[in-house]
Amino acid sequence: MFTTIVALADINWRQFEGVEIRLLMNKHPFTTFIEPKLPEFEGKTGIKVTMEVYPEDQFRDKRLIELNAGGKVDGYMIMPGQAKLHYWKAGWLAPLEGYMTDPDLTDIKEWDLGDFFAGPMKGARIEGHQIGVVINAEASLLSYRKDLFERFNVKVPETMEELEEAAKFFHKKVVDEKEMIGITLRGKDAAATSQFVDFLYSFGGSWTDEKGNANIASAESVEAFKFYGKLLREYGPKGATMYHWAESTSTFMDGTAAMIFDANVFKSLYENPKESKVVGKVGYTTIPAGPGGKLPHVSNWSLAVSGAATPECQKATWLFIQWATSKENVLGSFLSGVPAGRESSWNDPAFVSTDKTPDWTKGSLDSFAIGQPQWNPPVLNVSEIRDIVGQVIVDSIEGKDVANSAKAAAELMNKKMEK
């Protein structure tokens, strides 16, 4: 009886002793956390791990070229919302549900699949198959200068109208001899789409309709484009069409913007005294509700097993993923600043007792609970379609005819969409 319990509670971690696996990783805070711990995994399993880490742009190119060339790649990081369709169709993603439920390969109770947030895990599914395990969960939050909101008695926006009012109130207002900007957002074409999507959904719009045709020219979608463009044109920074996240977060950290809407991970920037002038002055909340409700997106990085690796290497890589996404490791990376994809990390006393920004925690958790995992257009050629949508955002910021621009973009999108 005792032995049965031991067998159920644990697996043979050394079953692939001597196997060598090669992993391609993005230079992400999670990688920074896990890389120095590799000797622990190698000691535990006897598996030899080669981990190659590249900055994001090179990482994407390298991953694509290596997988296409058919070289030895056993596992890699992937943002499912960006690349899963392409990689799945190319046969580069191994389904993981078989491993997850195999008691010989997975310490089912200890690993605890149910502990992962459902939204991000759903994002890493395709055609009924789980193709990745989330290593972080990302949602966007409205971050605002709580010191100024309190000083001027401005209500924290709960609706889109209130958001516009607050932006209008602060824009060009001179505070402590500094002229303020109402709100800063990404305005740079394709890069802006990953934040714009929250507005699109909350205004009742969508990328595509039920038939899979472009829906970005629908009345609701057009309203979202108009609102987003107006915020930046009338209450945003000068030159917003060139604003990527780096420009937008810098403007906020410089103390010149009253609000910013961007990924929750950037809290680590806003609250970093070496880089930011607004440390301790920032409040966090979910996206304000629009006519379509409050519908933020939720995205994530995941660890995947290459569909082209040998079965033995695939299983050895699965052991690595299981170890890297254990409760202990996810909590460790969470405490080092990576928003965790596991609920237990957020409830852990080690985090709760040291949490200096409970409103950020609440905002993030609320967003994960209602987050939409489909944050990119549901197509194979995501980058190309994001470029097309990005043009409408730019046109809207520049004050051009949004309805016409969206109509032209929808036509082009229908022509170019690959599924």
Partner: protein
């Protein structure tokens, strides 16, 4: 053994014209000729990287290009950017070279300083220009405001982005043109100038009736050299705007890069780059024709 050695030496002796250039020719074939041929072959194929093998589709990619609004936009941007920057670089280059050609105190020092932009790494200077051109924090707007002029959105406005990029290109590459023209000016004969002075010609006459006609072959060489790079300008545009806002500064060359490496359409991307290649070739054939006409083959 000895015989084999002799045979090898004999073979080498008898085939020297083939053997000696062979390493260079093989390298050239691998790194230049093969990729071009493969590119031409790919341009007749449909191939999404990762999804199946290339499929031959004949001229379909070329037909698609001509009905693709983004292709025409790329062509327009390329034409606008190149004609503006090349003409400014040649004009300014000539004027500055004529000025530098005179002896003045500290001329060597000024000339050395002036070479700096040309010697700097394009990506590094482009990153700095990107910050300077930012209307929110950039120094250019600050200077405009200092002298009482309204600010500009520079690269953030579709209407001014190309002019802003031309500004950077002119700043970076005019020194190269100056160097080439200066070398040409130094080798010009003195007699026509002396004759002109005796005849009472003023500085403007000397410049337009003697310097410009004499220096014309050098100008065409400088233009040819510069156009080779300029027509496929990548690093400055990619670093500063990535073709934005939207596609307002996306040249055909940039579009072909994005098509292949962001959209993974290797076939269509090859088609676009072949068209760029043909345009550059055409321009250079035309320039050569003009050069032959002015100075003979």
């Amino acid at each position: 053994m000895k015989k084999l050695k002799e045979n090898i030496i004999n073979f080498l002796d008898n085939h020297m014209p083939i053997v000696f250039p062979a390493p260079a020719m093989i390298t050239l074939f691998i790194v230049v000729i093969f990729p071009i041929i493969y590119n031409i072959y790919m341009s007749f194929n449909k191939w999404k990287i990762g999804l199946g093998s290339p499929k031959f589709i004949g001229l379909q990619n070329y037909i698609e290009a001509f009905s693709d609004p983004r292709f025409w936009n790329g062509l327009k941007v390329m034409f606008f950017f190149s004609s503006l920057s090349l003409s400014l670089e040649i004009t300014l280059g000539l004027l500055i070279a004529v000025y530098f050609n005179k002896e003045f105190k500290g001329s060597n020092f000024v000339q050395t300083i002036y070479i700096f932009p040309f010697a700097a790494t394009p990506v590094a200077i482009a990153l700095i220009w990107r910050i300077m051109l930012n209307p929110q924090i950039g120094v250019l707007d600050y200077f405009l405001n200092l002298v009482g002029l309204p600010g500009s959105l520079w690269i953030s406005d579709a209407r001014t982005v190309i002019i802003s990029l031309v500004l950077v290109d002119v700043w970076k590459w005019t020194p190269m043109i100056v160097l080439i023209i200066l070398a040409g000016l130094k080798s010009l004969p003195k007699d026509p100038y002396e004759a002109a002075v005796i005849d009472g010609a003023n500085a403007f006459h000397i410049f337009s009736y003697i310097t410009v006609p004499l220096i014309q072959p050098v100008l065409i060489t400088a233009l040819t050299l510069r156009s080779l790079d300029n027509l496929k300008e990548f690093d400055i545009i990619y670093t500063i705007t990535q073709g934005g806002p939207g596609i307002a500064s996306e040249t055909l060359y940039l579009y072909s890069y994005k098509t292949a490496f962001s959209f993974f359409n290797a076939g269509y991307g090859s088609t676009l780059i072949i068209i760029v290649f043909l345009l550059v070739l055409l321009f250079n054939v035309a320039m050569n024709k003009i050069r032959y006409r002015t100075e003979g083959p």
